[in-house]
Symmetry: C2
Amino acid sequence: MLLSRKGKIMKIEPRTLKGFRDYAPSEQLARQEMFKKIQTVFERFGFLPLSTPVLEYKEILMGKYGDDEKLVYSFKDNGDRDVAMRYDLTVPLARYVAQNQGQLTYPFKRYQIAPVWRAENTQKGRLREFYQCDIDVVGSNSNIADAEVMACICIALQTLGIDNYELRFNDRRIFNFLARLPEETNYLTDVIRAIDKIEKIGQDGVIKVLEDRGVPSVMLDRVLKFVKVIGLTNEVISATDLDSDSMGAVSYISETMKRVVAFGVPEKNVQFNQTIARGLDYYTGTVFEIVLKDNSEFGSIAGGGRYDGLLDTFSDKSLPAVGGSIGIDRLFEALESLGKVPTAPGVEVVALNLGTTTFPEVLRVTAELRGAGVNVDVYYDEAKMEKQFKYAESKGAKWAVIIGEEEQKSGTVKLKNLQTREQMEVQESELLRIIKS
Amino acid sequence: MLLSRKGKIMKIEPRTLKGFRDYAPSEQLARQEMFKKIQTVFERFGFLPLSTPVLEYKEILMGKYGDDEKLVYSFKDNGDRDVAMRYDLTVPLARYVAQNQGQLTYPFKRYQIAPVWRAENTQKGRLREFYQCDIDVVGSNSNIADAEVMACICIALQTLGIDNYELRFNDRRIFNFLARLPEETNYLTDVIRAIDKIEKIGQDGVIKVLEDRGVPSVMLDRVLKFVKVIGLTNEVISATDLDSDSMGAVSYISETMKRVVAFGVPEKNVQFNQTIARGLDYYTGTVFEIVLKDNSEFGSIAGGGRYDGLLDTFSDKSLPAVGGSIGIDRLFEALESLGKVPTAPGVEVVALNLGTTTFPEVLRVTAELRGAGVNVDVYYDEAKMEKQFKYAESKGAKWAVIIGEEEQKSGTVKLKNLQTREQMEVQESELLRIIKS
């Protein structure tokens, strides 16, 4: 506490930092329910939870995020160590696997649902603290792993009631096949980045960018031929005049697609889309994103890909990896706009307080209902009924339990449905059945 | 990546900071299950979740933790703001309530299970990142609130299978009553701190400390008379020659005790203990701690109390509050030593891979089992059976599902119980029933 000039105690202004926010009980209850449902699906697919610290040595995080590295929260701790707050869940996973390489069984499949921190520009409405929700498979080259990661995220969305989504996926290596780009040049990166922007800059834009970069025109032709078949089915693609290398890539992708469907994703929701490239430099094969067809304004609400080189930073042994991430804040907004926010019971019953004579009875019934698995809140003070009902409603309770002296004598309980305003007198032995029905 | 003098790429050593640790899947699965069970009890008692940010303005946290303030992780962010990582969950709650004072309905009951950070001396084996698990009631003076907080934590422990615990509670105001200590002196704090150490320094030690502090001997006599009845029942206390003020305090405490029992805690687990004082300066009334009788080496695994003044720091309006916290790491260790770590299903079934001919069948059965709520992992590669079984065992799975060409032809599935090594051939339609039984 500080003293002002006049000697009064100065209060500290209660406020949160820009880009940081509280989640009030009603919203947090729904978010937790969303996390729980997603987590359940992750475990169905054989992913297990891993927890890593919020703080890491700064050097662990550096060199992984390109230009965005400046967004990492870092500082010197009390022991003068350079430390940083985690920026994503992928780099800590890579660190964990490298550190425990000999103890793990591969493929190592883990999920992690946890907050990350980025010093983003808050003017764009971006939060600086937000949750990520990741699954990854480390140690498998099989495209079954790629398919399972994509399918698992799709099924998680379906479990939340989202059916009208589109999984768009691609394989970055396809650009190698189709353009036979020499690996030692940077053309591949240029091509990927240009194609990633095709929706914004159009086909002519892509040509211009690549010509400026000096990509030979023979390669450009091959790239463009391929881009023209975006979103088409395999049958249509097969009918185009692609060369045999490109067809090889197509058939590989077609197999991955079949696996995704085999894992339970409806075929109509899966699209091979050659323009998907994803921003991050570390992807090496499959890349994917998921958009909501009814809410394209949210952009991609999930995405990921294969990143076979990332673990090399920490270890001499190379381990392939593929993973995906759900943008949980966008997803929650989407669920809100679809009216599909998951509901949790919260407070189901509020037991009112009608004074000291009957309060022991109220406590007894409260303890019984709780013991039977009902969420019960009990009003502490002998306040006016109106105030107590208002309290019960503010908690979102469906029922109010009322025990006055009359009820006490007759061994009954007054039960008020706060939604319909109906009130009934029931035998205590009937109470649980009615509330649970 | 750095280049060494010889021009080789230098790997970054994968390691965690001192006082920080990863939780591997098997342990994290159990921890999550423990959190879930505790959370369920909190919601039974009408507490709802609140989420607050990890970073707060530094000034919010300062002036709350006494000498321990130096343990707060603080730094300047990119915008040159003084920020700090949360040190506990109580101060952020006080900040939240003050910030949203007009919008909340009182009593405001919330729980929060989240990590906090303290730059502790790691030589004592203390972690610098650890979870807290708090419930608090803001806005009620009633001792029903105190009783409910204590009872809720006790029932949470019982739900985890811990029955042999002792809830020791006290009321700090009792020292006022019994010693009639003038409020303007520091005697009360001295008395509380000295009595808090009675188990270590003994009755003579307490007398010596207080005499050195200049506490008048008439007060000392009254304090010691009270301390002598530690742990005795109310009946015994009534029989001692306490004066009427002390008896008033005893009767208030006796009422709180009855409420705790009414909320479902067995009477044998509750003890009024006049030596409980708790370290934190901000407690103003009830203080309590819970010890495990079979594992007293863990010290108190939960504690809390009433802190009616804390919110005054942020607001002109005074709001009383009472809360409690479970020391989740100690609790987990205790559960380990009692053999009561909660188990979660994790991976239940691993579907093996016997080659491309039958793999589509394997994927179909996998998708079906998952759809029915079973956690199934599928082996990606056509590896040797021995390797696949080893994988399944390392995941803690109970069952391996095997579909070879023979099974495919006959529409059956080979099911191996990995615990008993028993193997059976079952109809596909029977599979789910057997696994779930």
